[in-house]
């Protein structure tokens, strides 16, 4: 089986929609078991391990993150936050149907709101995707915030 560019682009749009609609179980099921969600702290950061990042989370941490959102005593989510991604058309940077490996880059605007506060982040999302048993999976995802080195208040959902 080989994928088309549209398959990859549709996948990126579908993933963003899952996050906006809070369909986290479906979202977690997109991930390969050894994947990492990386959100660097520094502009053009190259190392996720030896310096601080905003996020560098494996599946256990991601599961914990989304499980917490629905907890009875998750005080910072009373009331709950909402989020909204606006995507520009993803670039398909690498496409290797033989190996089943793909890389896309997508520019997004991300809005998150809770109570009377709302903020906007400009994002660049880089997806490493894999074709596994006929399904597209996320091998790794890197989300760079344009002003990653600025001081933020709470960012509670998943940009």
């Amino acid at each position: 089986m080989s994928l088309t560019r549209d398959d990859l682009i549709d996948f990126i749009y579908d993933e963003a929609r899952m996050l906006d609609e809070g369909r986290y179980d479906e979202w977690l099921a997109l991930w390969q078991k050894d994947g990492h969600y990386w959100m660097p702290l520094d502009y053009k950061q190259t190392d996720p391990i030896q310096v601080t990042s905003l996020m560098y989370e494996d599946i256990f941490m991601l599961k914990l993150r989304v499980e917490r959102l629905n907890g009875a005593r998750t005080f910072s989510q009373k009331p709950k936050s909402r989020c909204h991604h606006v995507l520009s058309r993803p670039y398909v940077d690498e496409m290797d149907n033989e190996a089943g490996r793909y890389v896309t880059t997508t520019f997004m605007h991300y809005v998150e709101t809770r109570l009377d506060d709302q903020f906007l982040l400009a994002l660049t999302a880089r997806h490493e995707l894999a074709l596994v048993d006929g399904k597209i999976m996320i091998a790794n995802k890197r989300v760079d915030i344009l002003n990653c080195d600025a001081a933020f208040g709470n960012i509670q959902l998943l940009p």
């Binding site: 959100m39 030896q50 601080t52 905003l54 914990l64 907890g71 005080f75 208040g153 709470n154």
Partner: protein, 451 residues
């Protein structure tokens, strides 16, 4: 002018042992007085010398609300200068870090200054001839802060020209910084990357108090740490499976009250203190291969054991930093307004120690102290709710009396039950002391000085 300016009695009346008045958190006049008095009279953290390793390297930050530059001068010493051109006021450096070479040059009119602040040159200087320029403030160059101390790589400054010495100010509390640095086989730390920067819509003192508040983790952090413990149990791993690093970090937040009671709190004079006298949430991290061997080689086995056996939890250096010695983290609570605080969380690598230690520290920093942290979210929620709740009239005092004792003497070092709020009371005792040290009507002060 409100009711607190030049009124030390009114300041002192805000702190009455078991309680503090809400104005210390919400009153803009108090905030301005803190900047003018408290942050000028005390020793405040500036940066680490590894942030400016080479001559001409600089780092811009602030002490209270005062913009300053930490810079390495041509003789290798670190200087701390106000970030202001003496000419028109332009900030000299805007980058967070950089190298200025042998001198600073103001981008507005090209006045230039040596890296110790001395005036070097002014273009078309003849325009100042016969104008009495030597008498002008501007002729002195960039102003230096009152005093600077480089303590084992950590740079502290006192803005006031005169006041308490560094040694008298910190006293025995320096043992926490010593332990953090001693954990490097080379006895040296290096900053590891930029700090997390997290904006809080609350008063800076709420954050400082929370560092030794041991009755909140199992409550406020149940949603993160409690859920982590639950998820781990659901995985049903075979007995004895080692916890992954993330679980080692987060699970101890759910420890029972007894754990925190027994860990102990030590307080030192001038508002300093720490949790984790006997043990802490950092005590049971798994050993990193090769580290103890490197430490033993550097210090001898007995001394290495003593250094690594100390597992202090949070050490508060009054007024506005906290360090975690066992994981080489430093958090600075920068007051921007009565209800606005910027928190910067730095980590350091232990020179000549295995990289895995820095990796664990970086993981701790992002898991617990990032704006994206599931632990930090609930802390910030509590502070912001408190900041808003304090507006309520008819209930004007904040309670800090857990394990209060009559006649507490904050001028001596003590060790108490780990759930005491004594360290908060200790901070407020120091707060009054350094707020009022140089306060009062000018006439009164000059008369006292003359006597």
């Amino acid at each position: 002018m409100g009711c607190y300016t030049d009124n030390p009695d009114a300041i002192a009346a805000l702190v009455r042992g078991r309680e503090v008045h809400r104005d210390v958190y919400i009153d803009p006049e108090i905030y301005r007085l803190e900047m003018k008095h408290l942050f000028a009279n005390s020793w405040v953290f500036v940066g680490h010398d590894s942030q400016t390793p080479n001559k001409g390297d600089y780092f811009t930050t602030q002490i209270g609300d005062q913009p300053v530059i930490q810079v390495r001068h041509s003789d290798g010493e670190i200087h701390v200068l106000y970030n202001r051109c003496p000419h028109k006021g332009t900030k000299i450096a805007i980058d967070r870090t950089g190298n200025t070479g042998k001198f600073f040059r103001c981008p507005y009119h090209a006045w230039s200054f040596k890296t110790d602040g001395c005036l070097l040159a002014i273009p078309l200087k003849k325009g100042y001839e016969n104008t009495g320029f030597e008498q002008a403030e501007g002729s002195k160059g960039m102003r230096a802060v009152g005093a600077v101390k480089n303590y084992r790589g950590f740079i502290f400054a006192r803005l006031a020209e005169e006041g308490i010495s560094f040694e008298d100010y910190f006293g025995g509390s320096l043992s926490s910084l010593d332990n953090m640095v001693d954990r490097s086989p080379a006895g040296r730390l290096e900053v590891a990357g930029p700090p997390l920067r997290y904006m809080h819509k609350c008063n800076w003192k709420m954050l400082v108090e929370n560092q030794t508040d041991t009755c909140h983790p199992m409550v406020a952090h149940e949603s993160s740490a409690g859920t982590a413990v639950k998820l781990w149990e659901e995985l049903d791993m075979p007995e004895g499976t080692p916890l992954p690093p993330a679980m080692e970090i987060i699970a101890p937040f759910m420890s029972a009250y007894e754990f925190f009671e027994k860990m102990g709190i030590r307080t030192w004079p001038n508002g300093h203190g720490h949790t984790g006298v006997h043990h802490s949430i950092h005590s049971n991290y798994s050993a990193i291969p090769g580290y103890f061997e490197a430490m033993s080689e550097a210090y001898g086995e007995e001394r290495a054991k003593a250094i690594l056996g100390e597992n202090r939890h949070n050490t508060v250096y009054f007024p506005n930093i906290m360090i975690k010695g066992p994981i080489q983290q430093l958090r600075v609570f920068i007051p921007l307004a009565a209800d606005k605080t910027l928190v910067e969380s730095y980590i350091y690598r232990l020179v000549d120690a295995p990289d895995e230690l820095t990796a664990r520290t970086a993981m701790y920093n992002r898991m617990i102290n990032a704006p994206t942290s599931i632990v930090g979210h609930d802390d910030l929620e509590m502070y912001e709710r408190a900041q808003e709740g304090l507006a309520c009239d008819g209930l004007e005092w904040v309670n800090v009396q857990r394990l209060y004792e009559e006649d507490e003497d904050f001028d001596t070092e003590t060790v108490e039950n780990g759930t005491t709020e004594r360290q908060m009371r200790n901070q407020f005792h120091a707060w009054v002391k350094f707020m009022t040290a140089d306060m009062g009507p000018k006439e009164t002060r000059s008369k006292e000085a003359a006597e």
